[in-house]
Amino acid sequence: MEPEKTEISKSWEPRIVMFCCNWCSYAGADGAGIGRFQQPASMRIIRVMCSSRVDPVHVFSAFLEGADAVLITGCHLGDCHYINGNEKTLVKFNFMRSMLKELGLEEERLQLNWISASEGEKFAEVVRMVTEQVRQLGPSVLKPEGVA
């Protein structure tokens, strides 16, 4: 199935599901707010205690429900609150990315980024960057009909 590359309207805002770990990236998101770093309103954050909790089932369900992309975030490698959870996330991420192609989705629709509790500005930058990348890709082909 070829994704339809018809005209993407400028006002189209991708819908991105973002998983944040409680200790680093969720706090980074808070920091972005405190610093008033403006971002596109594309992200919907789901908080988990550690990025290693994120299950492929959650990620693929998000795509089936209509997510244009999924962004998993956690602490920087070596900084995990749970010793090495993010290393497990990395392994799983590579596996999930390889599966994405099978589903007919572009690799960029699943992203991983490490954002620390103090990196509010980086958080906003990552949101902007991923949103822009997904905007270029257009809506996901898996998006069910009728999803806003």
């Binding site: 969720y26 808070d30 919907r44 789901i46 909790r53 299950d55 429900e65 749970y82 497990k88 806003a148």
Partner: protein, 1014 residues
């Protein structure tokens, strides 16, 4: 139980020392009054941008401690309060304080900041060191605790002229009270901890450094310039608004200075300057940084390595020169520093910015406090303590912690604060728990049937309401499935809103609550407590963030922000519907401690724990107690070591709660906090089972035998400092002594600085001179690191004629039997020195046995073989493994008083566990559904804590018995990351509160269908 002892402690000073001491005491069963003269707790650490040597963000690591202190049921925060008098005796003090008027009602102010916006009066901001303005009504810094505004009466237009009144007009909560008066309070406390901190040196008087020039800043100002919440939002710039290209740091401004009678070394400035230079280069790698110094004193754990990285990788320049002045070019506006090069020539160098590394000094308020408390001061104005009692003042029951006792860095401050808590706890142990507050809650309601959700959407003044259409979100929430009631609040976190939430739960018979406001990371416990007070299990509550994650970051798109807020509320309702009540599991625990190692640290740790009335088992592998100190014959203050060691040994041996096992080694450890089991083997190979609730590792260090360095072992007259210690007590005849520093440290094999050797060398040089002033003593050093008050020993040694010669690591001294040849770095001469005794200052090294002990307790070692604490700054004596602590030279080389402070700190941390009646496991842990478990072991492999184990069980199905493996979770070890839940192929394992169905409910409701197809 004695009745004349009050189970409360007054802690004076709300910086990191005061906060740490308060938390330890509050967690050990004591009531704490935390008294702070400023409007917020946090102290100097809150002003810092990053901390050395890890470049951790200071605010990020400090804030959680501040919030914890403000929420603790046993801590009463008395901010903006001053001590007037301390009367009474140990066990029964009366502390009189004045609570200054903030002109703001603390019970009403929510810290929204609307008043700040409308206040017309701008004044210089002390928190930003005068670099930025603040208003006359202010919050010291964004994460201030408590988050309550304060009016500065001198600058307030209404209070001084009777006009304006804007803040009162704009405050929707009516919190402004211009008529508020100071209040006097009288508190009963059994002990007092003085933790009033320090005052940074004010360089105003040093006109040669041009402190008034806008581009000559103090190091504290520079911290603010680097900080993202500082005056330029972290964009480093000069007064002209340009980015600096060259920055100079001048060390020892207001320290190591006889003329200013600041003779001591401020201990922290070298490291913070290195850190600031490194961070400046991280802001812009093109910036050139030069640090003008006498010696770089990088003596703490990881400091030398950080310093070398700054020098070699970051290319920070270190210039060994103390400039006499800073010149300003009035035409070009540049700053110029003339200085002497190492070859003696004079250079003039231009810089865009000059940072004065100002020293830690005794504050006037600290001295006044000491006077009120009746405790003695040192000549420099710090609180006077002794080597063997580094937390005790001359007045019983009054203890000191942190920089009020002398310059020190954050980890030493935290250790001393915990140590002071142990001392206060020991004094008051008969009254432990007598004034403890426990919050009482009504019984929980049963949660059955359909979810009934109540939704509260917060306006947060205009913080949310200004960008998100809150009424629209509320009416949308009302349409969602299972929502029984939805409404808005101006400030959902305020006290009165809590009352309304409780009423709402009762009125509508709610069994789930969702609040849409700010971040759960700070506010979840508050709402959870309100739910619990209304009889609802706290895990049936969900907080979603529509402020930091929505209104604040979509300020230009109010419509999109409103849509997103609706989505967030919908996802939250979907989640809260699936939530189930959870309970923390009570785990039994023993009440005794194991202390491993019987050196000065282990002895003190054992004694402090025993004085807190808990049993201690002290295990020492040598046949005798005393450790390293047995080889040291005199202390830095000139007294014989026996003076402090012998009474200590006596006390430990005589203490009824301490069991000593010498000549014994720990060979095995199982279990977890509260219930460790181990085996101890003695020299006759007899083994004994031991059980303990907590363990303190005080395994010490040993002096390196410097074979291979500086001809050691080739001639009998080349000895080490500890061999010299013995000789100085006996037959010492040498006439020409040469000491060589860094004999085996600060090199490739051992890159760390051993911290104590410079002070030891100076001490022993002085001892030699005192015995016989005609002996010629040379000390060959790389950098003299006689930090803190011991700088004075260095001055005394020079005055006594000890000759100090700097050598470079690229041109090491040559040592012969009767002669030493060295290239003097400072004068540039090759010297030949006659020597009949050569003393090598060999470093302290970690014992090899650490490698056996570390895996037993599942604790890490650092690259030098010392034990590695969980957080180098704020948890210096804790391991990540709960219930295991460390202290003394097991952590890194340190002096006797520092070891003792750390030992008391480890004891204090241990007492926070030992004083509990039971342990609580976290509720957010994983659980196994044994029906579904196939025993594959995937979970066991991913668990980083060893909390999961497979056990073989005998099962019966249709009359057939068979064996199978099933996974089981130890709730005491599970930390609730959820990695196992992800790894489980059958869904048998799930993480409570983040269950698969709960997360999927959120995922499924991220999106709505445009025509409501569902």
């Amino acid at each position: 139980m004695k009745t004349d002892i009050t189970g409360a402690v007054a802690v004076v000073g709300g910086g990191i020392a005061g906060v740490q001491a308060s938390l330890d005491l509050a967690n050990s069963g004591y009531k704490v009054y935390l008294i702070e003269s400023g409007p917020t707790i946090g102290g100097k650490m809150a002003q810092l941008d990053k901390t050395f040597p890890t470049s951790d963000c200071a605010a990020c690591i400090l804030s959680p401690k501040l919030v914890e202190a403000s929420r603790h049921p046993n801590i009463e925060l008395l901010t903006y309060s001053e001590v007037l008098a301390i009367d009474g005796v140990a066990g029964d003090f009366t502390v009189k304080i004045k609570k200054k008027s903030r002109y703001v009602d603390e019970t009403k102010c929510t810290g929204c900041g609307d008043c700040i916006e409308k206040c017309p009066k701008k004044v210089s901001d002390g928190f930003n060191e005068g670099l930025a303005p603040r208003k006359a009504i202010y919050l010291s810094f964004p994460q201030a605790v408590p988050r309550i505004m304060t009016i500065d009466p001198e600058n307030c237009i209404y209070l001084s002229k009777g006009k304006c009144g804007n803040c009162a007009k704009v405050c929707k909560r009516g919190a402004i009270d211009y008529a508020q008066k100071d209040q006097k309070l009288s508190l009963k406390a059994g002990a007092v901890i003085l933790a009033a901190g320090f005052e940074a040196f004010n360089p105003k008087g040093l006109e040669a450094y041009r402190p008034e020039h806008p581009d000559v800043v103090t190091s504290l100002q520079f911290e603010r310039l680097l900080n993202a919440s500082g005056p330029y939002h972290g964009h480093l710039q000069t007064s002209k608004g340009t980015e600096p290209k060259k920055i100079a740091f001048i060390q020892c401004v207001g320290s190591r200075n006889q003329k200013l009678s600041k003779k001591y070394c401020s201990s922290v400035c070298c490291m913070y300057a290195v850190k600031q230079a490194v961070i400046a280069k991280e802001h812009d790698p093109e910036i050139e940084c030069a640090i003008f110094n006498i010696d770089i004193r990088a003596f703490g754990k990881g400091f030398e390595e950080f310093y070398q990285r700054a020098r070699n990788e970051k290319k920070v320049r270190f210039i060994r020169s103390r400039p006499s002045c800073v010149e300003a070019n009035p035409l070009k506006g540049e700053l110029r520093i003339p200085y002497e090069n190492e070859d003696g020539s004079i250079a003039h160098e231009e810089f865009d910015m000059v940072v004065l590394s100002i020293g830690i000094g005794a504050s006037e308020s600290g001295k006044e406090l000491a006077r009120l408390a009746g405790v003695g001061l040192t000549g420099a104005g710090f609180i006077n303590t002794s080597i063997e009692n580094p937390m005790s003042t001359n007045r019983p029951g009054i203890f000191a912690a942190g920089a009020v006792q002398g310059p020190k860095d954050i980890p030493d401050t935290v250790a001393q604060a915990s140590g002071a808590a142990a001392k206060a706890g020991a004094l008051l142990s008969p009254a432990r728990g007598t004034l403890e507050s426990k919050k009482e809650f009504p019984p929980e309601k049963a949660v059955a049937g359909e979810p009934k959700v109540g939704v509260v959407v917060c306006q947060c003044g205009t913080n949310i309401g200004g960008f998100v259409n809150v009424p629209e979100v509320v009416s949308y929430a009302n349409t969602l499935k299972n929502v029984a009631v939805a409404r808005e609040e101006m400030y959902a976190c305020s006290e009165d809103a809590q009352e309304r939430i409780k009423e709402m739960i009762a009125e509508h018979g709610l069994n789930r609550v969702l609040v849409a406001s700010c971040t759960p990371r700070t506010h979840e416990p508050l709402f959870q407590e309100s739910c619990r007070a209304a009889g609802l299990n706290p895990y049936l509550f969900e907080l979603v963030n529509i402020r930091e994650h929505c209104s604040w970051i979509h300020q230009q798109e109010p419509e999109k922000a409103t849509e997103k807020a609706k989505d967030i509320v919908r996802m939250g309702v979907s989640r809260v519907r699936c939530l189930a009540p959870l309970y923390k599991q009570e785990l039994s625990l023993g009440h005794n401690a194991l202390v491993l190692g019987g050196g000065i640290s282990g002895l003190h740790a054992a004694l402090e724990i025993a004085e807190n009335e808990f049993e201690v088992l002290l295990v020492e592998k040598e046949p005798e107690l005393g450790g390293l100190l047995r080889d040291i014959t005199a202390l830095q203050d000139g007294r014989k070591t026996g003076k402090i060691l012998l009474p200590l040994l006596e006390k430990v041996r005589a203490h009824p709660l301490i069991t000593v096992m010498t000549g014994s080694e720990l060979i095995e450890v199982n279990g977890s906090v509260g219930n460790f089991k181990g085996r101890v083997r003695d020299r006759e190979d007899r083994e004994q089972e031991v059980s303990f609730a907590v363990a303190v590792l005080a395994t010490g260090a040993e002096e390196l035998s410097p074979a291979g360095y500086f001809s050691y072992g080739e001639f009998p007259n080349i000895i080490t400092q500890s061999e010299l210690e013995a000789e100085l007590e006996g037959d010492f005849k040498a006439k020409h002594v040469v000491m060589v520093q860094c004999a085996g440290s600060r090199n490739k094999e051992r890159p760390y600085c051993s911290r104590v050797c410079c002070i030891t060398a100076v001490k022993n040089a002085l001892r030699i001179k005192e015995r016989d002033p005609s002996v010629i003593v040379h000390v060959l050093y790389r950098e003299m690191r006689t930090y803190g008050a011991w700088e004075e020993l260095y001055s005394r040694a020079r005055a006594a004629g000890v000759r100090f010669i700097a050598y470079s690591d690229t041109r090491l001294p040559w040592i012969g039997e009767n002669e030493v040849r060295v290239y003097d770095e400072i004068t540039g001469f090759d010297l030949e020195i006659e020597a009949d005794l050569i003393v090598l200052s060999a470093p302290l090294v970690a014992p090899a046995s650490n490698r056996q002990i570390a895996p037993m307790f599942k604790v890490p070692l650092d690259s030098n073989g010392f034990f590695l604490e969980v957080h180098i700054k704020l948890r210096p004596v804790d391991f990540a493994t709960e219930g295991v602590f460390l202290c003394g030279t097991a952590q890194a080389p340190k002096l006797v008083d520092e070891s003792i402070a750390q030992a008391a700190a480890a004891a204090s941390r241990a007492c926070t566990i030992l004083s509990r009646k039971s342990l609580e496991s976290s509720a957010v842990i994983s659980k196994v559904d044994t029906e579904l478990c196939v025993g594959c072991g995937a979970c066991e492999k991913v668990c980083p804590y060893g909390a999961i184990s497979l056990t073989e069980v005998l099962l019966q199905k249709q009359g057939v018995f068979y064996k199978a493996k099933k996974s089981g979770i130890n709730p005491a070890l599970c930390k609730g990351c959820g990695a196992c839940a992800m790894s489980c192929p059958t869904g048998a394992l799930d993480q409570q509160h983040f269950k698969n169905d709960q997360l999927l409910a959120q995922v499924k409701d991220v999106f709505t269908y445009s025509e409501e197809v569902r």
